[in-house]
C-alpha cells in the first residue's frame, strides 16, 4: 500500500518534472557497457549506445580514444634504398577514432563548426609541433596520418549508421577491433538543428586489460628485472625439457 502511494506520488509530481527537464535537455544517452575488458582471448568488442532525443534534429556520435603525440614519416629514395626522410610530429592525435551519423555529415553544420568539434574524417585537424611549416606540406602529412590509421583499423573508412527504433529512440553500434588501444575513451553525442548545436552529451568508456593479461602487464612494468628472470627461467626449462625428451628415444 505504501509502495502504491509512493509510486502515485512519483507519477504525480516527478514525472511532469522530469519531462520538463527533458525539454531543457533534449538529449539523453546510455552506453550498454561502460568498460571494455581485454582478456587473453580478446578478439574485439561491440559498443552499443542507446539514446533518446526529445527534439527534432540531426545526430552524430563520436568515439575518441586517448591521445598521443604522433610522428608521420615520409620515405624517399636514396641510393636506390627507400629511407625515412622528412617527418612531422602532431600533438594530441587520438589513438582511436570512430563516428556514427544518422545522415551525411556534410549537411549537418558548417565545416568550421565541425572542425571545431572534430566531427567527421573531413573535419579532423591536428596541431603540428612545429607550426612554422607550410600549411600545404602539413596537410599532406595529416592526410597520410589519417590514411595510415585507417589501414591499421584505428580510424574509420566511413561513418557508421545511427538507427532509429522510433522517431525519438535511437541506437548505434561501434565495433572495436582486437588491436584497440587501451585507455580512457570519450563517447560524445551531438544534436544539431539547422546547422546549430542544440545539445551534446558525453560518456566515458574504459578500455583496459583485465585478469592474467593485466597482471602480466603490471608485473612487467613494475618488476621488470624479476619479469626478465622469469622469462629466461621459462626458456631454460623448456630447452632442458626438450633435451631430456630427445635423450629418451
Amino acid at each position: 500500500m505504501k509502495q502504491f502511494f509512493l509510486t502515485a506520488l512519483f507519477a504525480l509530481f516527478l514525472l511532469p518534472l522530469s519531462s520538463l527537464h527533458a525539454a531543457e535537455q533534449p538529449l539523453a544517452i546510455d552506453l550498454a557497457e561502460d568498460h571494455v575488458d581485454i582478456t587473453t582471448g580478446f578478439s574485439g568488442a561491440k559498443l552499443i549506445l542507446f539514446g533518446v532525443k526529445e527534439e527534432p534534429g540531426d545526430l552524430v556520435v563520436v568515439l575518441r580514444g586517448p591521445s598521443a603525440p604522433t610522428v608521420v614519416r615520409r620515405k624517399e629514395q636514396i641510393a636506390g634504398v627507400w629511407l625515412n626522410r622528412r617527418s612531422v610530429v602532431f600533438e594530441d592525435v587520438p589513438r582511436y577514432y570512430d563516428y556514427a551519423v544518422a545522415k551525411s555529415e556534410k549537411n549537418l553544420a558548417p565545416l568550421s563548426l565541425l572542425r571545431k568539434l572534430d566531427i567527421g574524417l573531413n573535419a579532423l585537424s591536428f596541431t603540428p609541433e612545429d607550426e612554422t611549416e607550410k600549411e600545404e606540406y602539413i596537410s599532406k602529412f595529416q592526410e597520410a596520418l589519417i590514411r595510415n590509421r585507417q589501414t591499421s583499423g584505428h580510424f574509420p573508412l566511413q561513418p557508421k549508421k545511427i538507427s532509429f527504433i522510433n522517431d525519438n529512440f535511437f541506437r548505434t553500434t561501434l565495433a572495436l577491433p582486437a588491436n584497440v588501444p587501451i585507455g580512457e575513451y570519450k563517447l560524445e553525442t551531438y544534436l544539431f538543428r539547422k546547422g546549430v548545436l542544440l545539445d551534446r552529451k558525453t560518456t566515458t568508456l574504459k578500455v583496459a586489460q583485465i585478469g592474467a593479461s593485466a597482471k602480466i602487464y603490471d608485473f612487467a612494468h613494475e618488476h621488470a628485472f624479476l619479469y626478465g628472470i622469469l622469462a629466461i627461467f621459462m626458456a631454460v626449462l623448456a630447452g632442458w625439457g626438450a633435451n631430456a625428451v630427445m635423450q629418451k628415444d
Binding site: I38, F42, A178, M234, M246
Partner: protein, 305 residues
C-alpha cells in the same frame, strides 16, 4: 584463435605464432642454427612492433641454445674457457647494440636498418654457404689459393697481443679474437634478435682455427648468455619483452626441434647446407625487395608516448 599479447598490446593468431616457432625449431633441429633470422622479419611482417619482436626473440634463442648445448655438453664438445672470453666481448656488444637500437628508433630508421642488416648478412652468408657447399658436393677439397689466404690470415693474427691458451681447443691465440667475434654476436642479438650462429660458426672455424667438433657447442654456449643478457636489457630498459609471445614461440620451437632432429638423419652435410643457404637467400630477397621497390604508401605513422 586470437591471443592477446599483453606487452605488445595487440591480438595475434596463436596458431600462426606456434607454427612459426615450429618451423624455427625444425631448422634448429636440422641445421643447428637458431633460426632467429626467420622469426624477427616474420613477426614484423605480422604487425608486431620491431622493438617487441627483437626484445622477445632472445627468449626463444635461450630455449633453443640450452637444448642444443646440453647434447654437446654430454659429449664434451664445449670449450667453456673460449666461450667465456667470447661472452666478455658479447656483453659489450649487447650493450652497444641496445644503445644503437634506441638511437635508431628515435631517428625513425630502425626498420630500414634492420632490413639492410638482414639483407647484407643473409645475402653474403647465403651466397658463401651456397658456393662452399656446392663446391663440397662437386669436389672434396678447397682450392690451394683459399687455403693459403686462410693460413696467411692466421699467421697475421698470431701477432696480436693478449695471447691466451685454450687447452680444450688446442689454441694459443690473442684473447681479442674470440672476444671480437663475441662482440659481433652480442651486437646482432640486441639489434636484430638473432643469435648469429650462422655467422659465428664459420668465423670460429676459419678465423680462430678451432676444431670443428667444438664449434657448435661453444657458440651455442655463448649465445645462451648473450641472448639472456639481451632479453634482460630489453625487458628492463625498454619493456619490450612479451612473455606470452615468447611462450608461444618456445612451445612451437620445442615441438619443431623434436621433428627436426629426426629429420636430420635423412638430410645431412652439404645438401643440408644448400637447403639452408637457399632459405637464407629467400628471406634476403624478400626483405631486399621491400628496400628497393617503391612502397605502396610513402608515409608511415608511429604513435609515441
Amino acid at each position: 584463435m586470437l591471443i592477446y599479447l599483453p606487452i605488445a598490446e595487440m591480438a595475434v593468431p596463436a596458431e600462426l605464432i606456434l607454427l612459426l616457432g615450429t618451423v624455427v625449431g625444425l631448422m634448429s633441429g636440422i641445421f643447428g642454427v637458431g633460426g632467429g633470422f626467420l622469426t624477427t622479419p616474420f613477426l614484423i611482417f605480422m604487425g608486431v612492433p620491431p622493438t617487441i619482436a627483437v626484445g622477445t626473440q632472445g627468449i626463444q634463442l635461450v630455449a633453443a641454445s640450452v637444448s642444443g648445448v646440453l647434447a654437446h655438453w654430454k659429449r664434451g664438445n664445449v670449450d667453456t674457457k673460449l666461450g667465456l672470453v667470447m661472452l666478455g666481448g658479447s656483453v659489450l656488444g649487447t650493450i652497444i647494440g641496445i644503445l644503437v637500437f634506441k638511437l635508431l628508433e628515435y631517428l625513425g630508421q630502425i626498420d630500414v636498418v634492420i632490413s639492410i642488416l638482414y639483407v647484407f648478412l643473409l645475402g653474403s652468408m647465403g651466397i658463401m654457404m651456397m658456393v662452399e657447399s656446392i663446391y663440397a658436393l662437386v669436389k672434396k677439397k678447397a682450392s690451394k689459393k683459399e687455403e693459403d689466404e686462410i693460413s696467411r690470415f692466421q699467421a697475421f693474427i698470431q701477432k696480436w697481443p693478449y695471447k691466451m691458451r685454450f687447452p680444450r681447443s688446442r689454441l694459443y691465440i690473442s684473447a681479442l679474437l674470440p672476444a671480437g667475434i663475441g662482440f659481433i654476436g652480442g651486437f646482432l642479438v640486441s639489434i636484430m634478435g638473432i643469435g648469429g650462429g650462422f655467422l659465428l660458426v664459420p668465423a670460429m672455424i676459419y678465423l680462430l682455427g678451432m676444431p670443428t667438433l667444438l664449434v657448435a657447442g661453444t657458440s651455442l654456449f655463448q649465445i645462451i648468455f648473450s641472448a639472456a643478457f639481451a632479453a634482460m636489457l630489453h625487458a628492463v630498459a625498454n619493456n619490450t619483452l612479451d612473455i606470452v609471445l615468447a611462450l608461444l614461440l618456445v612451445c612451437g620451437g620445442v615441438i619443431g626441434a623434436q621433428i627436426g632432429v629426426r629429420l636430420a638423419r635423412y638430410i645431412k652435410g652439404a645438401p643440408a647446407r644448400v637447403l639452408l643457404a637457399f632459405l637464407l637467400l629467400m628471406v634476403c630477397f624478400r626483405l631486399g625487395l621491400e628496400l628497393f621497390i617503391k612502397p605502396e604508401d610513402l608515409f608511415t605513422t608511429v604513435l609515441t608516448g
